[in-house]
Symmetry: C2
Subunit: 467 residues, 2 copies
């Protein structure tokens, strides 16, 4: 195991010179919020030795050079909305919060790219694009607060991935401060590139283990002229999930196909204190379609309505989008209100495996006596299964959870699925990744990490272990 | 410089045992076609020591293990349609031709993926998808003969990139025989993945320097129901190229926007021995739009027609697609017929820089007294500029070409462009890549190469130099 040195008073002084005294936090009070992300289990909390709020790539480069020299961990951090403890400094060291680097630097309408700093919220990025008549298609559920830099780090997915891809597909270039403290521009604004290895795509999804993204060049697409949201409510899981492949086979390319099982609906209804339709026994499928032609869009809505009804829907509503999406988006918060400690799984399976995966998840919940609420992105196979601790004792929970996860991911990998669709591995899933990934793939990832970060200072202990 | 060992008789025997005697070629006659790609300059020709035609990943893994042990170069090869000498064994050693591994292994209509072997031609891949009602959207001009494995190796672009992206965007997973001779599956059939570094995207475009792709999992999209091809003929370059950004700004998302300058049209006309419209003084823009709704598609065609006419088009024809695309696709062959030796540049610039880039290219041609024919992918900024040697002496050519390229790429990089949009760096462009790339980026690429191929046996001397 790599050993790291502590952050001494002399180092704090040096950091103050680089960043400015005001932006070097050492008070426990001020650092508390940087000691965790949205994972509420106390075992995923760890206080930083120091928190820095840099304002430029140049400052970050100096900090990283210092960290290499002194052998101190650097943990880059976005808004702290992560769900895998990827931004928590478990090995101690410096937390580098990107919150001051929050500018939308450019919207290049002619080339259809925007350039942003990592600390801009996803919502601000979307809004800035919209004001110029474009869509930034990345759309994680936490978009109102998450930083775009965090989206890039975890390859955030979200609600529109089925049509537009995940964050990865939106990123055409980055400015990176490397793990050795050099500043480099990767990719750019060309629509094609066959000029060497694609390092941009290696950086996207590497969860801060290869450097710090200080700018991102994001793709824009023309803003669709019309949007329709439909809420189809089914009496059971098979008919709800069964509609997804039927829609796809019919050549409909929705922007979103979200689902919520009945337990998830009930939990969200309680949290919002607001009646949701058919919450007694319904299973939701939320379908969003976009288009430039109103008639065609209406035609699609009619076809979807008919197909859902034919598949047994209790009701198909042209949804009040704000209300329905709010319910979908509070899923994690609502479950947290029910059970402060819960494990939010983020598994992803090939699309055709969703019905059997959810069925098996429910069976596992019954077997282990753990309440499981499922919601997620039905059309891309990404299922969020919240395993609730509720009244279980710590001891029981710590015994049940790993056993349940073992069975769960054995099934997921047998189906050709993966551990994480969009939340990332972070710290929480390191052991599972190491267990379920191919040893060759792990060996390649470790070799790359060591090649690009020889002192292993960037976000150590995340994604996989390496020595 | 890494030194490599020769392929001895004993090694040939061992290779025969692995692959089968029949599939180990050592006769100069039989090996000749593996000594070059479509670059006709004799300095880009080099005879292999041995050519292998393996039939499985397992055989390839054994060969690579042997090559590591003996320190012999391995050069993977597709159809030999490359334009950067990426598959020519300049450091000697083994050429590994994937031609026998040509199967379409699966078309998974439910998950919308197909799995293919690397030796399938792009056309066969497209055709197999079409037969099941899907589009495989990769579409390089050489698609009738190029292998899909070569497309993956160079991140081939082609004619539909503006709508669907390049080969990179089509590849969701690969089976790779690593540079150390291990077989690993990367990616897969999930639509999202945040489970560690994206090694699939690192392999795509790495030109055989990190291993051998033995299977590719490719995305399918629903086959559009209608297609319209338009040929707009303009009296000069500015009005021709000028239409592109106007179309994009109007919210039209064509599948293709190709252009040919007048010299390119004349060269193709001569080669095809077939009258092309307005070949005396025209500049072509070929526009393809696709859609599921016939009326909307017709509406789009009318709008495009009007916009082109307004921009000064001499004529807008609903093109005979076969004829027009044939002219566009023989561009390289036609120029080769005029001048056996020519340099096909593959520069790419941000979209809004195309008009000034082409203007400057023409000015460079005049300055150096070199005929330059331009054609390419107008909507994605990828310009093929053929620099023709014609009657120039070898000496003069070898003096002029590097000087012209220096000026050309200084301009391209100033514009935020890149050396290669889709042909790759191969052997031909190594010096230029090393000169024009950031030293930090090169350092990162070299570090990754050494980490994944410690004995430097995979396709040495390609993309960049490394020791």
């Amino acid at each position: 195991m790599a050993k790291y040195n502590p952050v001494t008073d002399a180092i704090i002084k040096e950091l103050q010179t680089i960043i400015g005294e005001k932006y070097v936090l050492t008070d426990a009070d001020k650092m508390e919020k940087y000691s965790h992300d949205e994972v509420t289990d106390p075992k995923y909390v760890k206080m930083p030795e120091v928190v820095l709020l840099p304002s430029s790539a140049q400052e970050i480069a100096q900090v990283i050079k210092l960290a290499n020299r002194e052998h101190i961990p650097i943990v880059p951090r976005g808004a702290g909305t992560g769900l895998a403890s990827g931004a928590v400094p478990f090995k101690g060291g410096i937390v580098l919060s990107l919150e001051r680097m929050d500018k939308i630097l450019e919207i290049d309408t002619e080339n259809m790219f925007m350039t942003v700093e990592p600390g801009a919220t996803t919502e601000n990025v979307q809004q800035a694009a919209r004001e110029k008549g474009f869509l930034y298609a990345g759309d994680p559920c936490s978009g109102d607060s998450s930083f775009i830099g965090g989206n890039v780090a975890t390859n955030a997915g979200g609600n529109k991935a089925i049509k537009y891809g995940t964050t990865r597909q939106q990123v055409n270039g980055v400015e990176l401060v490397t793990a050795e403290g050099d500043i480099v521009e990767l990719g750019g604004k060309t629509k094609k590139d066959a000029s060497g290895y694609n390092l941009t795509q290696l950086v996207v999804g590497s969860e801060g283990t290869l450097g710090v993204v200080t700018k991102a060049i994001l793709k824009l697409v023309p803003l669709p002229k019309g949007v329709i949201d439909l809420l189809a409510i089914f009496p059971d899981l098979p008919s709800a999930i069964g509609i997804v492949s039927k829609l796809m086979a019919a050549g409909i390319t929705p922007t979103s196909v979200e689902f919520m099982d009945n337990a998830a609906i009930k939990s969200c209804e309680k949290f919002l204190n607001e009646k949701l339709p058919h919450s007694d026994n319904g299973f939701y499928i939320i379908i969003q379609v976009e288009g430039d032609n109103e008639d065609l869009l209406d035609d699609q809505a009619v076809i979807i309505d008919e197909m859902c009804t034919e598949n047994g829907a209790l009701s198909v509503l042209v949804a009040d989008p704000a209300k329905i999406w709010k319910a979908r988006k509070v899923f994690a918060e609502a479950d947290r209100a029910l059970s402060l400690i819960f494990s939010m799984e983020d598994l992803v399976v090939p699309m055709d495996k969703i019905p059997s995966a959810i069925e098996r998840i429910n069976a596992l919940g019954q077997k282990y006596g753990v309440a499981i609420h499922c919601a997620g992105h039905a059309a891309d196979g990404n299922i969020h299964a919240n395993l609730l601790k509720e009244q279980l004792s710590d001891e029981k929970w710590n015994e049940l959870l790993p056993a349940l996860q073992q069975e769960l991911y054995t099934m997921v990998y047998e189906m050709g699925g993966k551990l994480s669709g969009e939340h990332g591995i972070g710290y929480k899933r390191v052991n599972l990744l190491e267990q379920f990934s191919s040893p060759i793939e792990l060996k390649m990832m470790r070799a790359i990490k060591k090649a690009l970060d020889p002192n292993l200072i960037m976000n150590p202990g995340k994604v996989f272990n390496v020595e």
